[in-house]
Symmetry: C2
Subunit: 304 residues, 2 copies
């Protein structure tokens, strides 16, 4: 077995509630190596963060490259709190990073803060880095970013700043309802039904007030009319994404919209938006995360 | 220790997903004894029903009184399927009961069927018995019954028949969101805040489209503005009950409404309806269940 020595200029880390991902980055933004684990913030106590990170990246620490991290690792229950910055503001500020307490002398860890909004109250952690990355990939972008996920975000961007944003619990509601509610009995497998999805999106946008009765109908129709698991799952997804579109209308109606997210989920949102006459662009969430972290990396600053 | 011999004319059983309750009933509708356990349908396999029931009621079986049961015990996953009857129809039909297979010779168990509606698809099991009981307690009632709970039901009653009904997943959504979602972090304890509840009901009725962003705001306001757990829990309840009222408007607007449910929950619904100008009557769910089962009991027939 041959071991290639990895000597990154810096290390990018995306540390969320459920997962930890790290990339060894070269001086020109190239990825030299990557690693990941399921040691997310949610399962770690404060002194578990350093060992969890070392387990992934210690082969890369020969030249003591700095670590730039984003996500829930910077929350109050994380490694080290990086206090929220208040919108309107740029998504990231290199001067506002927190430095995590470390014992290994090879390790320096900077954590990007999230954003908060006072009225209506809202917060994000991690998405601000993706937004910064999207702005780096699309300089001068004015419009709206939608970041679908567990807690989907819609952010209005103007002149390089996040002006306002709204979070929707769409992904978490889908996980709870499809996995833990009475609806789970009719949703086995992972097939898909576009027509059922489309109809549900339209229904929820037109009649958001009927959401909780439409949800139960999925169960009832399975029991008395043989609704297929594929159709039930697609309709649940459509109802929840439709409810999100009904609530985020001021964010997309007549706006330039770009989706930042995982491919399959972004495709579902793009389809739902297309039915409303919105032709959304799409960016990969990982590309945006890396571009955002790169904007905080000292080497990149030097390379500019 | 003295043992009193209980010799009921019949035995009433309310057997739901989570609980099993039984009453030893006298010939004039009086309760001689009662017993309950947590051996709900949800945790029993088909051959577990008879032992679970015997464990509660075998001291009452000396004179072999018939058992009349309602609820999920009659579902496809229950003891013995009692196929749904289709609305419009009377809530109960003594001729349509299923008889469960039993091995103990002292035991005869009749199970009341639930109701189904084809369009929109909906089902109920157990609530039809409460509705029948409510009609027995309020003869000639025309109007609407609301049965708040895990799966809240709204039923339109005319000339002694259930004309149509709608189920809302309000209680299950509350349990999932307050107990298993990210919102659980800000909802400890069991205090209450009427003002927060009222405002949330009004908000959800006016803007049901904003539900999933309002939900996340509960978390965000806890993090950045110190929202109290009591206010957060009351507001969650208000948002979900408000969403239900937004979706059930044709059922209550200008209608005579009677709530059938547990006291605290019915009080919250009555408060929310009062803010919409509806003065709802209230009946106890247990009283209605027993009155409904009584209408199926042969002894009661004889006593008429």
């Amino acid at each position: 077995m041959t071991e290639t020595r990895v000597t990154p200029a810096w290390i990018a880390v995306d540390w969320g509630t459920s997962n930890l991902r790290a990339w060894a980055m070269g001086g020109r933004g190239e990825i030299l190596a990557e690693a990941s684990s399921d040691e997310g913030m949610g399962k770690l106590t404060r002194d578990g963060f350093e060992p969890a990170l070392l387990q992934l990246i210690s082969p890369w620490l020969g030249t003591q490259p700095p670590v730039i991290a984003c996500g829930m690792v910077g929350s109050r229950q994380g490694w080290c709190e990086a206090p929220y910055r208040a919108v309107p503001c740029t998504p990231l500020d290199p001067a506002a990073q927190a430095t995590a307490p470390t014992t290994d002398p090879r390790l320096t860890v900077h954590i990007a803060p999230g954003l908060k909004q006072t009225n209506p109250p809202d917060v994000m952690r991690g998405e601000e880095t993706q937004i910064a990355g999207a702005l780096a990939l699309m300089p001068g972008y004015d419009g709206v970013f939608c970041l679908p996920g567990t807690h989907s975000k819609w952010a209005h961007i103007s002149a390089g700043e996040v002006v306002s944003f709204h979070t929707f619990m769409t992904g978490e509601l889908f996980a709870l309802l499809s996995g833990q509610s009475v609806l789970r009995h009719g949703m086995q497998g992972d097939g898909w039904d576009d027509a059922a999805f489309d109809a549900a999106v339209s229904d929820a946008i037109s009649h958001p007030n009927r959401l909780s009765t439409r949800l139960f109908s999925l169960r009832a129709e399975g029991l008395i009319a043989g609704l297929s698991p594929d159709a039930a799952r697609s309709r649940l997804s459509g109802l929840l994404i439709g409810l999100e579109l009904a609530g985020s209308r001021p964010y997309w109606l007549g706006q330039r919209v770009t989706l930042i997210g995982a491919e399959k989920l972004s495709a579902a949102y793009a389809r739902a938006l297309a039915a409303q006459g919105i032709d959304a662009q799409r960016l990969s969430a990982t590309d945006c995360t890396l571009a955002g972290l790169t904007s905080l990396a000292p080497q990149t600053e030097a390379a500019r």
